[in-house]
């Protein structure tokens, strides 16, 4: 029921996004016909291309066509390649998801472990080192860190390929780089949350049963700490999809982010519009999954959803 209610509330959101995406993209400076025709084209040539692309049609007619394209891929084609946008997106999406999901998973794993270490030995050397690394991880721009990684691991050590996506090895460096931010965030989050939980009564009960401190932390305290972490993970994943533009450009990964950058620079409106719409659908879906996970981890939130 909750899922259905959430899904029905997502539809107006997506409709609003479609309106915003279509009309805002139309406001992007630069005329697609002029960009395709090149700087030496005459007015007549530009006009001819504009007519061919259907850009002379009234705005509402074009919007209706855009909505039609969601259900009929043959009308939603790229200005540059004339291929259906859904095909272009489907080809690129796996690469984006590999980097984003891989980066997030590694970040969560590293962050959680680091957070536990900090919480179990507060004020120790490990805590201090992790705090410094965390600050660095949050502060360093992915772009710079990516180039640094390429220089060190590809050029200097020769361990990993510098750019491309043709083998699994090509994804190692981008995933490592993109994992830094979530790892840093999660280590802080888990450490703070665990430290708060450590003094709670139910943990004393667990300790009284004779469980080791590690088991107490892993099996009793951590579950509560993860509730907040799950919400943050959802937001982080959304951010990673958005950040794929930078990561994919630095590492030469053919993902949706790169496709979007190219489309913006060439004013390929259909690709921009449908790619953003797809990201919006992802955001809605991620929010839904995050809420469901939170409910599963925290029964109190389930209580609130029950009808009075």
């Amino acid at each position: 029921m909750f899922v259905l209610r959430r899904l029905s509330s997502a539809l107006p959101t997506l409709f609003a996004v479609s309106l915003l995406v279509f009309f805002f993209v139309d406001l992007i400076p630069g005329d697609p016909a002029q960009i395709l025709a090149g700087p030496t084209a005459s007015n007549e040539e530009i006009e001819s291309i504009r007519t061919f692309l259907g850009l002379n049609e009234p705005l509402l007619t074009r919007y209706a066509q855009f909505l039609r394209g969601i259900f009929d891929p043959s009308v939603a084609t790229s200005f540059r390649t004339h291929r259906p946008v859904v095909v272009e997106l489907a080809e690129r999406l796996p690469n984006t998801l590999i980097v984003s999901i891989g980066g997030l998973a590694l970040g969560v794993l590293l962050g959680t472990v680091a957070g536990i270490v900090c919480a179990m030995r507060p004020g120790g050397i490990a805590d201090a080192a992790i705090t410094v690394l965390t600050l660095a991880g949050i502060s360093m721009p992915i772009y710079w860190l990516g180039l640094l990684g390429i220089w060190y691991f590809a050029v200097h050590l020769g361990w990993l390929p510098a750019a491309g996506a043709s083998t699994p090895l090509h994804f190692v460096l981008p995933i490592l780089v993109i994992a830094t931010r979530p790892a840093a965030m999660f280590s802080r989050l888990v450490a703070t949350s665990l430290t708060e939980s450590m003094g709670r009564d139910y943990l004393d009960t667990a300790r009284a049963k004779g469980l080791s401190e590690t088991r107490v932390v892993l099996f009793h305290a951590l579950r509560n700490s993860l509730i907040a972490a799950v919400s943050v993970a959802g937001v982080q994943f959304g951010g990673m999809l958005g950040g794929s533009v930078v990561t994919e450009t630095v590492f030469g990964i053919p993902g949706v982010g790169r496709l979007l950058v190219d489309a913006v620079s060439r004013a390929d409106y259909p690709v921009i519009q449908y790619a953003i719409l797809m990201f919006a659908v992802f955001f809605v879906a991620i929010n839904l999954v995050t809420d469901l996970l939170t409910q599963w981890l925290d029964p109190r939130t389930r209580e609130q959803e029950r009808p009075a």
Binding site: I28, P29, G30, D31, Q34, I35, L36, A37, G38, P39, T40, A41, S42, N43, E44, E45, I46, S48, I49, F52, L53, T77, S78, R80, T81, H82, R83, E88, E91, R92, L147, I150, W151, A154, V155, G158, P161, A162, A163, G164, A165, S166, T249, V250, F251, G252, I253, P254, G255, R258, L259, V261, D262, V264, S265, R266, A267
Partner: protein, 510 residues
């Protein structure tokens, strides 16, 4: 008898070995890895607008004519050509027995179909306007094609030698739809074996090729890497043999490598500030003052890192060099500029100018604009550089002069033809003339030049046009961009056309 037998045996052995050696030499060998910066969304010559797409089209498709690495026109599929006495029908005989890589015959009918597709309004080619002067194209028999020109055109050879005029297999286009743009079916020495959007593509030899430039490589693997630093890392780690567009800051690092060097072939890219000829810029003294105010050598060395050569004419090298005229470089003379501005009635600080520059379109474009602003300030002009995104830039430079609110725009031109370049930029009222330039003598000469087929007459006509334009200075003439390509020492026979098209005709690997 025994001696004769031995002699015959030896002769047969030598003949056999030499045939074997020749055969072995002709076999394609080695994998060439090329890292490019731009993503070629399509290789369909009717829509491709990137140098990397031109390079692929040159290797995969054939035209009636083609350009060599110096931009000279050579015959390709054409065996002979002639104009009718009135200059309105251009007839081309094509080589017999050629086929597309899928086995379809490449005859006169296929050639006519390819051109008629390019000219078809419903196809929406970005080059339809450029080729409109071809009029209608007809197949006459199996090996003759007639172009019934819309107007006499003495530059048709150059038009037909561009990769945009490559012969496509229209039957395959109908079958494949938009996918043809990824795996075009042509008659060139290579064919596209694999294309992964945004990542790369591979060319392999076309076994049905019968022309003069057979494939020398087992495969050419292209990798698309837009980020300069990452692309250079591919050459440094040996993951690429050729990297295009080496940024000035990476040149020293690449040249310091043991296995690779930067080559800097000339480019026809002529970078200028195109003036909007209204207000203060209608005064020739102001235009000349602006040209004198700029230290081209200093900016080329200090800002462009040597990747620029000060202009000695409007059109860049490689733009039909046989018709090109060059002039002494414009001196850097701030005192002369101040004097001219004073003569035009402008005291220091009185003249206000703004100019539009793109971001990331040309080498160091933003920095160049800042340097130019400094040069103008130096002679007492209040200059405002308007550095904008590429979309806004293309919109501004495409506006009618009357609608422009700025005074100049930075634009690079690289068109392989004197007529195409000069007519579109300087003929009065032409839709692509964005400066508003108008000179009756230039108009008359450009008309005459277009209809003239005699190269000697063309040379005189276009020489005069270039001289008038150079003296009128409707542009702030800047420099010709220099190409910078990182090439591994194991690559031999690699060439680059002045329009930045990579040529793999004779490439072999050590």
């Amino acid at each position: 008898m025994r001696n004769l037998r031995q002699t015959c045996f030896r002769a047969a052995l030598i003949a056999g070995l030499s045939v074997f050696a020749a055969h072995a030499q002709a076999q394609p060998a080695g994998v060439l890895r090329v890292a490019v910066g731009a993503d070629p969304a399509t290789f369909d010559p009717a829509f491709n607008d990137l140098p990397v797409g031109n390079a692929v089209d040159l290797a995969v498709l054939e035209g009636l004519f083609r350009l060599d690495p110096q931009n000279n026109v050579l015959k390709s599929l054409a065996s002979d050509h002639s104009f009718s006495p009135d200059g309105k029908v251009f007839t081309v005989k094509i080589m017999a027995g050629r086929t597309f890589s899928n086995g379809d015959p490449l005859n006169a009918e296929a050639v006519a179909a390819s051109f008629n597709r390019l000219l078809d309004e419903k196809v929406g080619s970005i080059y339809r306007g450029l080729y409109a002067s071809l009029g209608t194209v007809r197949a006459v028999g199996e090996d003759t094609v007639e172009f019934h020109l819309a107007e006499p055109n003495g530059h048709i050879l150059l038009l037909l030698a561009s990769t945009a005029a490559s012969i496509v297999n229209v039957k395959a286009v109908k079958e494949m739809g938009a996918e043809y743009g990824r795996k075009p079916v042509g008659s060139g020495p290579y064919k596209v074996d694999r294309f992964v959007g945004g990542e790369g593509f591979r060319l392999v030899p076309n076994p049905t090729y019968k022309g003069e430039y057979p494939a020398t490589l087992k495969s050419i693997d292209f990798i698309v890497v837009p980020e300069d630093g990452s692309r250079m890392a591919l050459l440094e780690t040996g993951a690429a043999d050729i990297v295009e567009r080496v940024p000035p800051e990476s040149m020293a690092a690449i040249n310091a490598l043991k296995d690779a060097k930067v080559v800097t072939p000339p480019s026809m890219f002529s970078i200028n500030m195109e003036m909007v000829l209204k207000g203060s810029l209608t005064d020739a003294r102001v235009r000349k003052a602006l040209n004198l105010a700029v230290d081209r050598e200093g900016i080329a060395k200090g800002v462009l890192g040597g990747l620029g050569t000060p202009s000695v004419g409007m059109v860049g090298p490689g733009t039909q060099d046989e018709l090109r005229k060059t002039f002494p470089p414009i001196p850097f003379d701030p005192a002369g500029a101040k004097k001219l501005l004073a003569e035009a009635g402008y005291k220091p600080g009185q003249l206000l100018l703004s100019f539009t520059c793109p971001t990331g379109r040309y080498i160091k474009d933003v920095q160049v604009c800042q340097a130019l602003a400094g040069s103008f300030e130096n002679v007492g002009i209040k200059a405002t550089p308007l550095v904008v995104d590429r979309g806004t830039w293309s919109k501004v430079i495409g506006m009618e002069p009357a609608a422009r609110t700025d005074n100049m725009g930075m634009v690079g031109r690289a068109t392989a033809g004197m007529d195409y370049t000069l007519y579109r930029l300087f003929f009065t009222g032409v839709g692509a003339n964005r400066t508003g330039y108008s000179n009756p003598r230039v108009d008359a000469l450009l008309k005459e030049g277009r209809a003239t087929t005699d190269p000697a007459k063309q040379k005189a006509i276009y020489g005069e046009v270039q001289e008038i334009v150079w003296n009128d200075q409707p542009f702030l003439f800047l420099w010709y961009q220099t190409q910078a390509i990182g090439v591994s020492n194991r690559v031999q026979g690699f060439a680059v056309q002045p329009n930045e098209t990579l040529v793999f005709d004779k490439v072999t690997l050590k």
